[in-house]
Amino acid sequence: MLMIEITPNKCDYCGTCVSICPEDAIELKEADITISEELCTNCSKCVWSCPIEVLKFNKEGVK
């Protein structure tokens, strides 16, 4: 279950999360970011390194 939530309309698409993701689970286009449920292990490193608090850990899981 994917537990990393992306706050809508907040991302600056800077790619910091992509560079530290051990699983290559994050895909970033010009103005589009997605996390692969299949690859993500919910390790939360992206949550800690996001400069502007876009990514959040949600233990309820995200749709």
């Binding site: 600056d12 910091t16 560079s19 530290i20 286009k29 800690w48 390194s49």
Partner: protein, 390 residues
């Protein structure tokens, strides 16, 4: 866009444009693919660099210089300002214009460039990289190349697809956020300001870089470990509310800066990595404009030569060439970073007090590090290597 090029460069930042130009000047065909809609935007950068660092790659032109820098000012956690004159001229660039010009230079050397071209995979011939897959304006294409140059920035994935370990531990990246602000009235246009301390930017620093007039880039980077507790944005907003409650914010950007030595592996059959993608940023300062262009120039030249001489293995010599030019130096910069990384506010206050006793004419950046690392003889040797030998 053709189906086949000698070299495909992924990413149209300074490292990519310079790599492409140096390769094209040797006479090979080069394609640059940029994922964003425009070269030079968004600018994820504090825009500081040195004359020495960029002069070999572009004629210095006022159109892309927002400020000329002669001084460095260390601001202690107590607010004490220590000014140090720099022994070389620095610039605050207008990266939008700068990047655009570098791309134009690549185009004039014969490179083809496309924007809104999102590279989403690699082609392989046995184990060798043999091209890329690109989504260009909604159409999926495959393009062959003898060499792929990954200049796709901090968020690089191209190297990973080739099996190179490019991801960084979250503690080794500085999470950064920056405002370009107006109505910043207490700074000199020729001075870089660095605030240090746990309350400003733990594991990193806060910068104020003049952009001409009363404009400035005000930003900070905090280590990933610190970001676990509080984000870069919260730190910056705390500072702005306290120090500049009345400024207008003209631009907001976030970004990550790798603060590590260069990746161990930056070349593999059919592919090399340059710039932020290779983690060629200076691990101490986080500066990556000049070092990225140096990496790009070395890589572009070697890639072209390997193709023209039909010696694919020659491509791998890029690693050693980079290591000799800057890679080894970055290891030493990284040692210094680790030496001051855990400095407490008390340490910074002590350092600032010690520096204030030295007359202005006798202060230097090397001297600053000597004072900071006084009790660490091993690192003092590194300081000497970086700042006191030619």
């Amino acid at each position: 866009m053709k189906n086949n090029y000698d070299i495909i460069v992924v990413g149209g930042g300074p490292a990519g444009s310079v790599a492409a130009r140096y390769a094209a000047e040797k006479g090979v065909s080069v394609l640059i693919l940029e994922k964003d809609r425009e070269i030079g935007t968004p600018v994820r950068c504090a825009e500081g660099t040195s004359h020495e660092g960029i002069k070999d790659f572009i004629d210095i032109d006022p159109s892309f210089i927002d400020a000329t820098i002669n001084k460095f000012c260390l601001v202690s956690p107590e607010g004490e300002r220590i000014e140090i004159s720099l022994d070389q001229v620095g610039y605050i660039l207008n990266r939008k214009v700068f990047d655009f010009k570098l791309a134009q230079m690549a185009a004039n050397a014969g490179c083809e460039i496309y924007t809104k071209a999102y590279v989403n995979g690699l082609l392989f011939d046995n184990d060798k990289v043999a091209g890329i897959k690109v989504d260009y304006m909604g159409i999926q294409k495959e393009i062959k190349a003898k060499v792929v140059i990954a200049a796709d920035g901090v968020e690089s994935r191209v190297g990973r697809w080739a099996g190179i370990k490019t991801y960084i531990d979250f503690r080794d990246i500085d999470s950064c956020v920056q405002y370009t602000a107006s109505n910043v009235n207490d700074i000199n246009e020729d001075t870089l300001y660095f605030h240090f301390g746990q309350s400003y930017a733990p594991g990193g620093y806060l910068w104020i870089f003049p952009k001409g007039g009363n404009n400035a880039n005000i930003g900070l980077g905090v280590s990933g470990a610190a970001g676990k507790k509080k984000s870069a944005l919260s730190y910056l907003n705390d500072f702005m509310n306290k120090k500049y409650p009345d400024t207008a914010i003209l631009t907001t950007v976030a970004g990550g800066v790798p603060c590590v030595p260069t990746l161990e592996k930056i070349a593999a059959p059919g592919i090399i990595l340059v710039g932020d993608a290779a983690r060629q940023t200076n691990p101490l300062t986080g500066g990556g404009i000049a070092s990225g262009m140096i990496g790009g120039s070395i890589g572009g030249k070697i890639a072209a030569e390997s193709i023209l001489n039909n010696k694919p293995d020659f491509l791998l010599s890029y690693e050693k060439a980079w290591d000799d030019r800057l890679g080894k130096r970055h290891v030493i910069f990284n040692n210094l970073k680790e030496g001051i990384y855990n400095f407490s506010d008390k340490d910074f206050i002590k350092l600032s007090k010690a520096m204030s006793k030295i007359p202005y004419e006798k202060r230097s950046i090397g001297g600053l590090f000597q004072k900071a690392l006084m009790n660490n003889p091993k690192l003092l040797i590194d300081v000497a290597k970086l700042y006191f030998t030619k």
